[in-house]
């Protein structure tokens, strides 16, 4: 195929391979590392992937910049009098939206990755079976943190100053990561269930569009009809946004934070095991 015609293809010199296998086979096995060590190895793999395929970070970089700038100037004047004032309201919401959208890539990446032969090797190795998945999700922390930092940076440029200070920013990023990690299992499930990355992407958007837009991200739900307010009242993304607003305003509400983590905990309890079953049954 075109692969073999690739000009970049390199080949070894025309020499016979006579490996000194006797010596090679003398190697004794070191003690097996613990699960935490394996998870960090898989997170390292995620980093190596980013190093070799940096394009995959494109969305993570561009989306937050686009969303923050666009919505601030689009709605700012109309809704809050000025973009700067609106930004105080909008920024926590945009943070949540950006990070929640980023979780889609967990599923898409897994779907692409899992079809490769290397997963056969992982499965035949003496490691905790879930570690390639959990390790990859841990590696996604880079994406979540990266896109959060970009949103904050753009916000600062546009005049946003969190009242809660640096501590509140760190706390917000930690909360975002926990939320994203917990919800990510929905997308690993989709990633294992569907055949193509495109299908994973489409279905994930279909799930995320309503929960992000039918929320308190852009406007105060007070002006909305009752049924929509009721829906937003049980929307996990809305809980996350409320918790983030409180944190960044310097008044973190621990019960609000707990409420925002309820949905990710429930999702993990349901979709975590489901992901594992699907992963075991793969092929």
């Amino acid at each position: 195929m075109s692969e073999s015609l690739n000009q970049n293809t390199i080949d070894a010199p025309n020499s016979p391979i006579q490996p000194d296998l006797h010596r090679l086979m003398q190697q004794s096995a070191p003690p097996l590392p613990g699960t935490l060590s394996n998870l960090s190895t898989f997170a390292w793999r995620a980093l190596l992937k980013i190093k070799h395929v940096p394009e995959q970070l494109f969305d993570v970089l561009i989306t937050p910049i686009m969303f923050t700038v666009m919505f601030t100037f689009l709605f700012g004047g109309a809704l809050a009098g000025s973009p700067q004032e609106y930004l105080v309201f909008l920024l926590p919401g945009i943070l949540a939206q950006t990070v929640v959208f980023t979780t889609i890539y967990t599923g898409v990446t897994l779907n692409t990755d899992i079809s490769k032969g290397i997963y056969d090797r992982f499965k035949s190795m003496p490691i905790w079976r879930a570690s390639p998945l959990v390790g990859a999700m841990a590696g996604d922390v880079i994406r979540y943190t990266g896109s959060s930092v970009i949103v904050f940076a753009i916000g600062l440029l546009l005049g946003y100053r969190p009242e809660g200070g640096v501590f509140s920013v760190v706390l917000a990023i930690v909360l975002l990561n926990l939320f994203a990690f917990g919800s990510g299992w929905v997308f690993t499930t989709l990633g294992l269930l569907l055949r193509t990355p495109g299908a994973v992407m489409t279905l994930s958007w279909a799930v995320l569009m309503p929960v992000t837009f039918a929320s308190n991200i852009f406007v105060d739900p007070a002006t909305m009809p009752d049924w929509l307010q009721a829906a937003i009242g049980v929307n996990p993304v809305a809980h996350l946004v409320t918790a983030l607003r409180d944190i960044l305003a310097g008044q973190p509400s621990w019960s609000g934070i707990a409420l925002s983590l309820l949905a990710p905990a429930v999702l993990t309890a349901i979709f975590g095991p489901l992901t594992m079953v699907l992963y075991q049954r793969q092929r």
Binding site: Q18, L21, M25, Q26, G117, S124
Partner: protein
């Protein structure tokens, strides 16, 4: 039953994918320290069998012991002592060869310098040092295979599964892989290899099981198999395609063997044990008035093995492709 002499001891193994049986009632015994060949066409159940024995796939039924351990109960212990080189390169294309080995070495407990040393030794042994820092997607097929095998030897396994190790390789790379398998056998590793090529099984394996439709239809040493199949195949191309049925009938009577007609309209082939007999047959054909365009005596192909064993040509099915 004494199982400890066997690296693999399997009875009545079964696996269905939906309603499609992939492996049915498969029996297999592989002696420790030997190279064993699983020979069969696409869709025969080779890959499914390997995936079950390498603990990737749970069998629906059957008893299996791998290295004396129960396949279902002791799968984690089995994983510590086996390695798998899958049909599709079991390495990460986006990473460099060195990173692939470092990653796997870390997962197996080689920390820091130990991992670096082991990786370098493996890269050097398999002639991959020059390309070590290039991404695997730029490797040639042969290099990819060597990296794949190197990755299986980070911790030397007692049992190595090689699923179609030479499919798609050019002859030079194929010979390199063969050298590696021979060296592994010499070092005492048990190797279970699957192949579609009789020649490959013949070259490498001490014993061969021919499998078809998920069953072992013949098992033995290469020479035992050849006694069943016939050690050679006489291939004849006639000048006039219309003479083929008559020429086939004459050969079949003379040799008491079944003649197969190739897709090429003037060609036919028949099992024929030795060169003396072959030249006698060629002379006979000419005497009978058949004009020969070309002829040759060669090893039987997989199709001919199947013809001899089952009386019908192998059907390349798609079941394995779908499930693989």
């Amino acid at each position: 039953m004494l199982t400890d002499d066997w690296a693999i001891d399997v009875k009545g193994l079964r696996k269905h994918f939906g309603n499609t049986p992939a492996v049915q009632e498969l029996d297999l015994q592989v002696r420790r320290g030997s190279v064993f060949g699983l020979l069969g066409p696409n869709g025969a159940g080779k890959t499914t069998t390997v995936r079950m024995l390498a603990t990737l796939l749970q069998p629906d039924a059957g008893h299996a012991r791998v290295l004396g351990l129960d396949l279902l109960k002791d799968s984690q212990a089995i994983r510590q002592r086996i390695s798998l080189t899958g049909q599709f390169a079991s390495v990460d294309e986006d990473l460099s060869g060195r990173e692939n080995l470092r990653l796997l070495a870390r997962l197996l407990g080689f920390k820091g310098d130990a991992g670096r040393t082991r990786t370098d030794t493996l890269l050097a042994s398999f002639d991959l040092l020059d390309a070590a820092d290039k991404e695997v997607k730029h490797y040639s097929g042969g290099m990819r295979r060597r990296l794949d095998i190197a990755a299986s030897l980070i911790v030397p396994p007692e049992l190595l599964f090689l699923d179609e190790p030479t499919t798609g390789l050019d002859p030079r790379s194929r010979n390199q892989v063969w050298d590696i398998v021979r060296a592994l056998a010499e070092a005492g590793t048990t190797v279970l290899l699957t192949t579609q090529y009789l020649e490959e099984a013949d070259q490498l394996a001490e014993r061969i099981a021919v499998i078809d439709h998920g069953r072992v239809i013949a098992e033995g040493t290469s020479s035992e198999l050849k006694q069943t199949v016939g050690s050679g195949i006489l291939r004849v191309r006639l000048a006039d395609a219309s003479q083929r049925p008559a020429a086939g009938e004459w050969l079949s009577q003379q040799l008491q063997a079944s003649v197969s007609f190739d897709t090429e309209p003037a060609s036919l082939s028949v099992p024929c044990a030795d060169t003396a007999l072959a030249s006698q047959m060629l002379q006979g054909l000419t005497d009978q008035g058949f004009v020969l365009a070309s002829f040759g005596l060669g090893q039987p192909s997989l199709d001919e093995v199947f013809l001899a064993l089952t009386g019908q040509p192998s059907e390349a099915e798609t079941t394995e492709d779908l499930s693989a």
